[in-house]
Structure formats: structure tokens, C-alpha cells
């Protein structure tokens, strides 16, 4: 089974999604259970993926390869390393609560809803496990279609605007990345990512390719100033859509920077790292202020996501500043470690926060902060979870949110005092907007009759929030296993990023 573990992870959910689609709305009972079983099975498949993962090598593992388009030297090549494996586990992990959360809530075309998310899961795993650039792009773009439909069909009042904006923004970025990938194929004669990584490129070429990658990944992350699609998409998306968008899809941008930008165009990155770091710091600080004034809970969490993803891009690009200030790559790995932990942790926390908002929305049909107040009086268990995730979002030690931010700030101290000082502003801002949100929604006296009639979490909701809370705490208290899995790959990546590829 190990030979086809990744294929199974990709195609099992997709096949299940197609079956659910064929079963149709009439057999939705069976469709629901099938979706749950398929998503759990995908999660179960992650167990051997983690257990049998060799933590001593940076090489791809669980590799599969079959010819796909022999004429283009493009193959159906899959494999994982310490960077992609945790993201695949995160994908499988976050799909389960999405399926469960929709159980009795989605009444409009539920079969298509489940099918869309299962197909999404397969495609997202495909993105993270492809070691062939063409296959990567294939999954990367194909994923837009189910997300486009998810926001457009199950979204809020302005869903059409939001979903078309989402699609066009990401499509714009990706098309130029495709152009860059084809360019490198023409030069190297193969579509394998490894061949791109070892392809010598002049500085001019690297700059163009960097720009194309930047467009694709910065939109996806999203970085300021191309972030404006995200708040719209989040506000309009159904709960499940928001969870997947925040927990997984944003990570693809970060993954792209780590897998493509840094190793393929290291010299351009070295030259332009200040740009990325500046944009990241703007995201951290400016977007933090923007989050402060939001009236809509989902919008607030969306802006908070942008700010947190700023840490990911910051951590990933610190390597050059560290080399410049210390003369060695020591400590650069810490920034990337931080970026990776931040991605996983943000996936869990933001997903959980969106699920919390979904819990409230299902009861009150409002996302406006002003409509709430004193929820703790009627929903004490829910309030407990909400406060925990909010604190994790602010980076409370003991939660996963702390580890990522701490590592990145620590690494940025090595690079420059000012980077660290500015990045640390998030500790204040993040705490401000998150805690103020909690204060207004959860605490205080019961604000109105609607809140007075709220019922606390049901078993289903308790289960998913409880599981995520456990994951957040475990990662916060004991991040060592995750760091160990990533270690060789991160070291390898630092070496690649610090090398030069300009032909002499």
C-alpha cells in the first residue's frame, strides 16, 4: 500500500465525491455517511504516512511515478518531504470537521456540497504531493473550480461578486506562474520540480520568474496589497468554504514560496527579499489595525488570517537578512521552521474560529459583532472553546499559535532588530483585535433576546471543536515531533535558498 499511499489520498476522496454526486440529493443520507467515511479514511491513511515517514532525510518519500505526457517529459510523479507531509495531514484533518459541521446545517443541494469538498480534498493533497510542476499546476488550478462553486452556490448575499473576484484574482496570478513554469521546461527539458531547482538561471531570468511566482503565491497567501479578495470570499463563503480557504488554500501560497520561489530563484529572492519582508510586515501591522475595526466576525478573522500569514512569508524570507547580518545560515532554519509551524497552527486555529462563527451563525443567522454579547451566559461550553481558540490566535504560550510566532520573531532578531520589533507589534495588535472580539461577543451581560435563547453546543459541534482544541494544545505544548519531521527538509531548503544558481 505504501507504494500508492499518496495516490490513494488523492483519488479516494475524489472517487467518493463523484459517488456522492451520482447518488444525488435523493440519497443524501447515504451520501452523508459516505462522505464522512471517506474523509475519515483519508485521515486514517495519514497514519502510515506519519508513522513510516523517515525523519532523517530531505529526499522525497512515498514516491510514485508514471509517465503522463512523455513528449513533454511530464510525469504523474508524487512524493512528500518534511515540508509537504504536515500540510497533507492538515488537509485530511480539516476536511473531517467540514463534513461533520455540514451534517444537518446544509439543506441546499447537500450532495453537491459534500462532493465539492471531497473533490477539493483530493486536489489539495495533489497540490502538496506533486513533484512534477505540470501536475502541481494541474491540481492547483483545478482546485479553483470546486471553490468557485462552493462560494457561488452556498455563499451569502454577495456571493457572486466574491466568488468571481476570488477566481479571477487567483487565475491572474496562476497564469503567469504557468508561463514561468513553461519557460523553465523549455530550458530544462523536463517538468520535474527537481530539474527546475537545479536549473542554472541568470539574474534577469530569475527576476522575471520571481515576479511570476510572486504574483501567484502572494495572491494565494494573500499578501498586502493583493489580499482584497480574501475578506470578500470569507464573508460570503459558507462555513466549510471559509474553513478550507483559511486552513488549507492560503497555505498553498506559503508552500509555493518554500517549494518554488526559494529553491528555484534563490538569487532573485536574495535581491528582493526586502520587498517580501516589507510586504509581510505591512500585512502584520497594517492589516492588524484593519482587523481591529471590523464589524463582521468573519471579516475580522479573515483579516487576522492575512496578518498571521504575514508571519509565514516573513519567516520564509528571513534567511537572506540573517546571512547578511551574521554571515552564516545558522538560525535561518528557525525562521522557516516558524513559518511552517505557523502555517499548520494557523490552519487549525483559523479553521476552528470559522467553525465557532459557524456555530453562532447557524443559531442567530448573523455575523455582526453588534448582534451578540454575553454568549457565555447561555453557551458556556462554546464560550470556553471560543476563548481558547481566540487566545491561541493571539499566540498564548501553550498553544500552537505561540510556537510559530515565537520562532519567527526569534529568527528576525538575528536578521535585524527592526524586523523583530515591527513583527512583535502583532503580539499587541493580535491580542487587541482578538480579545476585543471575544469581549464583545462572549462576555458581558446577555445583549438581547436572541442571545438569551441560544442553546449550547450539541454533540457534533462539541466533537469537532474538542478535537481541534486538542490539536492546538498538543502542538503548542509539544511541537517537537513536527519540528523533527521538518528538520532535514528545512536544512536542505536553507542550503538551496542560500546557494547561487547564476551560471558562471
Amino acid at each position: 500500500m505504501h507504494d500508492h499511499l499518496l495516490s490513494l489520498l488523492i483519488w479516494l476522496p475524489i472517487a467518493a465525491g463523484i459517488v456522492v454526486l451520482l447518488l444525488g440529493e435523493r440519497h443524501i443520507g447515504a451520501g452523508r455517511w459516505l462522505s464522512l467515511i471517506a474523509s475519515l479514511a483519508a485521515l486514517a491513511l495519514c497514519v502510515p504516512l506519519v508513522m513510516d515517514f523517515n525523519t532523517h532525510t530531505a529526499a522525497y518519500q512515498f514516491i510514485e511515478s508514471a509517465p503522463w505526457i512523455p513528449r513533454f517529459h511530464a510525469s504523474y510523479a508524487l512524493g512528500v518531504d518534511g515540508i509537504s507531509m504536515p500540510l497533507i495531514v492538515l488537509t485530511a484533518l480539516m476536511t473531517v470537521p467540514v463534513v461533520i459541521a455540514a451534517w444537518n446545517v446544509i439543506s441546499k443541494r447537500p450532495a453537491q456540497y459534500y462532493a465539492a469538498f471531497l473533490i477539493m480534498e483530493g486536489l489539495m493533497v495533489g497540490v502538496f504531493s506533486a513533484t512534477d510542476a505540470l501536475l502541481f499546476y494541474f491540481f492547483w488550478e483545478a482546485m479553483l473550480i470546486p471553490m468557485f462553486l462552493i462560494i457561488g452556490i452556498w455563499g451569502g448575499p454577495r456571493r457572486v461578486y466574491a466568488t468571481i473576484k476570488f477566481f479571477l484574482y487567483t487565475f491572474l496570478g496562476s497564469v503567469f506562474m504557468l508561463a514561468a513554469l513553461i519557460y523553465m521546461y523549455v530550458k530544462s527539458g523536463s517538468y520535474s520540480i527537481a530539474s527546475f531547482q537545479s536549473l542554472p538561471l541568470t539574474l534577469t531570468e530569475q527576476r522575471w520568474i520571481f515576479a511570476a511566482f510572486m504574483l501567484a503565491f502572494a495572491v494565494k497567501v494573500p499578501m498586502w496589497p493583493v489580499h482584497t479578495w480574501l475578506p470578500d470570499a470569507h464573508v460570503e463563503a459558507p462555513t466549510g468554504g471559509s474553513v478550507i480557504l483559511a486552513a488549507i488554500m492560503l497555505k498553498m501560497g506559503g508552500y509555493g514560496f518554500l517549494r518554488f520561489s526559494l529553491p528555484i530563484v534563490p538569487d532573485a529572492c536574495r535581491q528582493l527579499d526586502t520587498l517580501v519582508i516589507t510586504l509581510s510586515l505591512i500585512a502584520v501591522i497594517y492589516i492588524g489595525f484593519v482587523a481591529l475595526v471590523q464589524q463582521d466576525m468573519k471579516k475580522l478573522i479573515a483579516y487576522s488570517s492575512i496578518a498571521h500569514m504575514g508571519f509565514v512569508t516573513l519567516g520564509a524570507f528571513l534567511v537572506y537578512a540573517i546571512v547578511r547580518s551574521t554571515g552564516a545560515t545558522q538560525g535561518a532554519g528557525m525562521g522557516m521552521d516558524g513559518a511552517m509551524v505557523q502555517m499548520i497552527s494557523h490552519g487549525l486555529i483559523s479553521g476552528a474560529l470559522f467553525l465557532c462563527v459557524g456555530v453562532l451563525y447557524d443559531r442567530m443567522h448573523s455575523r455582526q459583532i453588534a448582534d451578540y454579547g454575553g454568549v457565555i451566559n447561555t453557551m458556556p461550553v462554546f464560550a470556553g472553546f471560543m476563548v481558547l481558540f481566540a487566545l491561541a490566535n493571539t499566540g498564548l504560550p501553550g498553544t500552537s499559535g505561540f510556537v510559530g510566532e515565537f520562532l519567527v520573531i526569534l529568527a528576525s532578531f538575528k536578521a535585524s532588530f527592526w524586523y523583530a520589533a515591527l513583527a512583535a507589534v502583532t503580539l499587541i495588535l493580535g491580542a487587541a483585535y482578538t480579545l476585543w472580539l471575544v469581549k464583545r461577543v462572549v462576555f458581558g451581560p446577555v445583549a438581547n433576546d436572541h442571545v438569551a435563547h441560544l442553546s449550547d453546543l450539541n454533540g457534533r459541534e462539541f466533537l469537532i471543536l474538542g478535537a481541534l482544541a486538542l490539536a492546538v494544545l498538543m502542538l503548542g505544548i509539544w511541537p517537537e515531533p513536527l519540528l523533527k519531521i521538518m528538520e532535514p527538509s528545512i536544512q536542505h531548503l536553507v542550503a538551496q535558498a542560500a546557494a547561487t544558481k547564476i551560471p558562471v
Binding site: Y137, A142, F148, G152, A179, V186
Partner: protein, 481 residues
């Protein structure tokens, strides 16, 4: 090479044309004696004839390498073989889709099929043309048949207007072509494309460029490149949808062959010049086609501008100027036809007697009224937008690749940017079908089981060729080298 004598061996390669000419006569006679009593029988016979024709082509016209016959006027090569089979398929599918449409509008007449077959013959002549004379013969045979088809619904004022525009503008283009050809003939002293290629490989008179200009204008007109595209939206919108389906598909194969035989073979010696002419045309075509399509409220008209935008991509393949570029253009053309067959097929199935589903708003909530049709249309729209896992993605990828191989950075950037603009109006169709609720007044969709199955297969092909693109890509590469 002129052949010493007309033996059967020489004739064999030209069997598709010979067969088709005979088939036209048979269909015409059948219509005169039987078809008028049993409406619809002619259509069935025509489809049968096309199937037999494809079989005959497979049996006889599959030549292993390039053969020049009939005093150098005719060429048979693997490319022609593949193009002819594709044309058979495109015509058969479009006739299959249109039958119920013609019937409900009282234009299910045998002559329609005769005209379609003679247009197909024109397409074949163009595909196998190896001299200026055969090129012109093919162009006119195709064009005249198609003009008549556009005007086929004589009750319809818009159709008559469209036919008139098409005819007048088409005549001007034919005149241009003829004028350009006469100049080239005058300067090279031969009508044969091989001969012209040899003559132009030596230093040549500047007058050739003058002739070339007229030829390029005519090719651009026929393909629908900006600024010679004006006829295209009017004709697509005005013609009965079955005719739009017909002219939007099979003739594109012929015009691809026209450009290929004339420019890349006969006029290869002045490649630098026609590349320089085509480049601004392609850029304009991409920009205007994609942006103007956004403003359309009529789906047929929108697809007309989408066609124009796609022509821009095909021209880019020619501009690359390499075998790889021409392969990309061929692949793009075939893919485009596959998708266009499906999209116009959807319009036909969504229409009813007395109701043309040609406005965009007629597609609101199509998902609820007809899930299969909506799914097919969504797949086709995503494919044209160039989103994997559909075949349109590979067509665009192949063009990008050809452009990179020849270092056309700016053309890549422009093509990429305009395809994002294009994505918007394809998405809008999906949005109408899936996100909007249907008004009560829209009628149900039509189509017999067989036609719906065909459309389903058409959409499935767009998906399957998108996931496994290698066979078609290989085929295109093989016939082009």
C-alpha cells in the same frame, strides 16, 4: 511532382474528395425522389454517408508520407488525412445536433444537407490544396455553400441580413485573395505552392510583399482576426443556430489548412514579413476579442467574440514560426472545434420552437431545469477559459510553450493577461447557470436521448482529453513533422 499517368494508385489518395462528390449527387437525387415525401430521411442518409466517408478515408487516404498528385495541384499527407477525419467528425456531429432544431423551424430540407456536404468538399479541397488555383477553388466552394446556409431560413430577416453581410464582405476578401495571388503568380511565374516556395527562397522582388499583404488580409478575414472580424459576430448571431454551429466548427479546420499551406509552405520565403504582419493582428485579436466579449448580452455573439479571441491564440502558433508552433496551432484548432461543437450544441438543445435560447439570461438556473446540459456547458466554459482538468488548458499551454521556444516574452505576457480577461465571461455563463434562480417563464430544454448522449460524450471528451492529453498531442506532433 507531376505524375506520368493517371493510375488508380494516384486516385486512391484523393478518394475522400471523389467519394464526397458522388455522395453529394446521391443525396441530391435521394432528396428529389424520396426525401420530399419523408422529411428527415435525407438527414439520416447524410449521416450514413459521412460515416461511410470516414471509413473510406481511413481505408484509402492514410498515406504514410507526403504525396503530390494531379500535376502538383493536390497534396495528400498525414496532416491532410487527420484534418479530413476531423472535418468528417465535426460535420457529422453538427448535423446530428441540428436535426431537431431544423425540424422545429420548418427548415429540415434536403438542400441543407447538400449544402453542408458541398461545404465539406470545399474544406477537403482546401486541406489538400497545393496550388493557388486549388486554394481558391476550395475557398469559394466552401464560402458559397456557407453563404447559402446562413440564408437558409428565408423567413428570417436577421438571417438574410447576416447572409448579405457575409456574402459582400466575403466577396471582398476573395477579391483580395485573388489579387494577392495574381501578384505572386506574376512575380514567381508559377501557381504551384512548391514552385512558389522555391522561387521565394532566392532573393525576390519587393512586389511579393505587396501580394503577401493581400493574402494575409484574406486569411485574416477568413479566420476572423481583428480588424477583419466585423462579419463574424453578425453572422454568428444572425444565422440559425444550427448554421452557426456548422460555420463555427468544420470550416475552422479549412482556414487553418489555408494559413498553413499558403503561409508556412508556399510563402515560407517571406516568413519574416508575414510574421511581422500577423503579430499586431494577433495582439489586437486577443485584446479586442476578449474585452468586447464581456459587453455581450447575446450568447451567440459572445461566443463569436470568444472565437475571435481563440483565433488570436491560433495566430500566435503561426507567429512562433516553428514546427512546434504550427503543431500548437493545429492542436488548438482541433481542441477549439471540439469545445465549439459542444457549446453551440448546448444552445441548440436549450432552444425550442419559437424560442431561441441565445440571450445570456436564458441560461439562468439552467442547472435546475437540465442538470446534464448545465454540467456540459460548465465543463465547456471552463475548458475555453483554459482551466485544468479540461482540454482547453493544454491548448493554451502548447501555444505558450511554442512562444517560449522562440523567445516571445511579450506575446506570452499579453496572451496570459488576455486569457484572464476571457475567464470572466466564461465564468459569467457558469454563474448564470448555477448561481441564479430560473425565472418561471423559460421553457424546458429539448433533445432526444441520442443527441443528449452525443453532447454528453462531447463534454466527456473535453474532460478525458484534459486528464490524458498525451494521445492527441502526440498525434498532432506526428502529422506535423
Amino acid at each position: 511532382m507531376p505524375e506520368p499517368m493517371m493510375n488508380l494508385h494516384v486516385m486512391a489518395a484523393a478518394i475522400p474528395e471523389i467519394y464526397l462528390t458522388a455522395a453529394i449527387c446521391v443525396v441530391l437525387l435521394f432528396e428529389a425522389f424520396v426525401g420530399s415525401k419523408r422529411p428527415g430521411a435525407t438527414g439520416t442518409l447524410t449521416l450514413l454517408m459521412l460515416v461511410i466517408g470516414a471509413a473510406v478515408t481511413v481505408a484509402f487516404a492514410d498515406v504514410p508520407q507526403r504525396m503530390v498528385l494531379f500535376d502538383g495541384n493536390y497534396i495528400a499527407d498525414p496532416l491532410a488525412y487527420v484534418l479530413k477525419l476531423a472535418a468528417f467528425l465535426a460535420v457529422a456531429v453538427s448535423l446530428l445536433y441540428s436535426r431537431a432544431y431544423l425540424q422545429s423551424r420548418d427548415i429540415l430540407k434536403g438542400e441543407y444537407y447538400v449544402l453542408a456536404l458541398s461545404a465539406l468538399l470545399g474544406i477537403f479541397v482546401l486541406i489538400s490544396a497545393n496550388s493557388l488555383l486549388t486554394v481558391y477553388l476550395g475557398v469559394e466552394l466552401l464560402a458559397l455553400s456557407v453563404y447559402a446556409m446562413v440564408a437558409f431560413d428565408r423567413e428570417s430577416g436577421v438571417a438574410a441580413e447576416a447572409a448579405m453581410k457575409y456574402f459582400v464582405l466575403g466577396a471582398i476578401a476573395s477579391g483580395m485573395l485573388l489579387y494577392g495571388m495574381s501578384i505572386i503568380y506574376g512575380l514567381t511565374g508559377t501557381l504551384n505552392l512548391d514552385g512558389i516556395a522555391v522561387a521565394l527562397s532566392a532573393p525576390h522582388n519587393l512586389g511579393v510583399i505587396l501580394g503577401l499583404t493581400f493574402v494575409v488580409v484574406a486569411v485574416a478575414f477568413k479566420m476572423g482576426a481583428v480588424p477583419f472580424h466585423m462579419w463574424l459576430p453578425d453572422v454568428y448571431e444572425g444565422a440559425p443556430t444550427s448554421v452557426t454551429l456548422f460555420i463555427g466548427t468544420a470550416p475552422k479546420i479549412a482556414y487553418f489548412a489555408l494559413a498553413l499551406r499558403l503561409l508556412t509552405h508556399g510563402l515560407a520565403g517571406v516568413k519574416v514579413d508575414w510574421t511581422a504582419m500577423l503579430t499586431p493582428l494577433a495582439v489586437l485579436t486577443l485584446v479586442i476579442g476578449n474585452t468586447v466579449a464581456i459587453a455581450q448580452s447575446n450568447l451567440k455573439r459572445m461566443l463569436a467574440y470568444s472565437t475571435i479571441a481563440n483565433v488570436g491564440f491560433i495566430l500566435l502558433g503561426f507567429i512562433a514560426g516553428t514546427a512546434s508552433g504550427y503543431t500548437a496551432a493545429l492542436y488548438y484548432t482541433l481542441v477549439y472545434i471540439l469545445v465549439a461543437l459542444g457549446s453551440f450544441g448546448v444552445i441548440i438543445l436549450a432552444s425550442r420552437k419559437g424560442f431561441e435560447a441565445d440571450r445570456l439570461e436564458d441560461y439562468k438556473g439552467l442547472y435546475r431545469r437540465d442538470p446534464l446540459l448545465a454540467l456540459a456547458m460548465a465543463m465547456l466554459m471552463f475548458s475555453t477559459a483554459g482551466v485544468p482538468p479540461f482540454v482547453g488548458f493544454w491548448a493554451k499551454l502548447r501555444i505558450f510553450q511554442a512562444l517560449w521556444e522562440t523567445h516571445h516574452l511579450w506575446l506570452v505576457v499579453i496572451a496570459a493577461a488576455t486569457s484572464v480577461v476571457g475567464a470572466f465571461y466564461y465564468l459569467r455563463v457558469v454563474k448564470l447557470m448555477y448561481f441564479d434562480e430560473a425565472p418561471e417563464t423559460l421553457p424546458a430544454t429539448a433533445g432526444s436521448f441520442g443527441v443528449r448522449l452525443a453532447l454528453g460524450l462531447n463534454a466527456a471528451a473535453v474532460f478525458v482529453l484534459g486528464v490524458l492529453p498525451a494521445p492527441l498531442l502526440d498525434l498532432c506532433t506526428r502529422v506535423m513533422h
